[in-house]
Amino acid sequence: MTSMTMGLATPLAGYLLVAALLFAIGLAGALVRRNAILVLIGIELMLNAANLNLIAFWRFGPHPEALTGMMFAIFSIAVAAAEAAVGLGLVISIYRHTNTAELDNIDRMKG
């Protein structure tokens, strides 16, 4: 408990803990839900948590004018958008093929 209050005294630790919790929530969503779309949403939440980490390190790091963390986050947002488009396209394609988006029911590799 002492380390908890000590850690939260710095703003960086607060942001990192929020990002860790959001990452865990996204991971839980990707692991416990049956619907493929919800799994993709969980992955998006995990990516966003990583972005929050990058921005927090940029803000509280020693050289914010170098923009490294900021650039990483911006490119990560762009890549995540591409990933969402392809992932949801795949889900729609699988739904057309098997008539379900429930992952437990998609259990064969043969078309």
């Binding site: 703003p11 929530i25 839980a28 692991l31 911006i74 947002i77």
Partner: protein, 166 residues
């Protein structure tokens, strides 16, 4: 820590939790939009205006709409009879809790060793634009190519496939 941070963190985490727990997919999509908005506000709170507005544009403006369209096209609004959680949900929950325990422990143990300054960084959008077209021009071009390829690929993957001869 300012009270605004606690408010925004609570909003973001509540949105994330609601996403995972809500049964209806459309409700989950709305909840994830709340989580994205909370994250954008957290970015603004971190003086990262450009990233915050990019987050609003890309996630709330595009990804949320895309998710709603995918729900629409896969009839995700109907509740499945077998329930929304997978058979092995307990294992998933344990894995997620373990990951959070390790991450939280690492953060609390190491954060005092990281040097941190608390002055507001004097970075404008003009600086970001200059950096994008100067030092980061190659990644920018690669991302442009990636987005083009991903868009074409998504369209091809989701296109109606022709009846195959069996």
């Amino acid at each position: 820590m300012s009270p605004i941070f606690y408010l925004l963190a609570a909003l973001t985490l509540a949105g994330g939790l609601a996403t995972v727990l809500l049964k209806h997919l459309v409700h989950a999509a709305l909840a994830v939009t709340v989580a994205f908005a909370g994250l954008a506000l957290l970015f603004l709170q971190l003086d990262a205006q450009f990233a915050g507005f990019a987050q609003i544009l890309v996630y709330i403006g595009a990804v949320a709409i895309l998710i709603v369209f995918a729900i629409l096209l896969t009839h995700g609004a109907d509740l499945p009879k077998e329930g929304v959680f997978s058979k092995t949900w307990l294992v998933g929950l344990i894995i997620a809790a373990g990951v959070f325990a390790v991450l939280g422990w690492a953060v609390l143990e190491s954060v005092s060793a990281i040097p941190q300054q608390n002055t507001m960084p004097a970075v404008t959008v003009r600086d970001i634009g200059n950096a994008l077209l100067d030092r980061y021009v190659l990644p920018l071009e690669i991302v442009a190519l990636l987005l083009t390829a991903a868009t074409i690929g998504a369209v091809i993957v989701a296109m109606h496939e022709k009846e195959r001869p069996k």
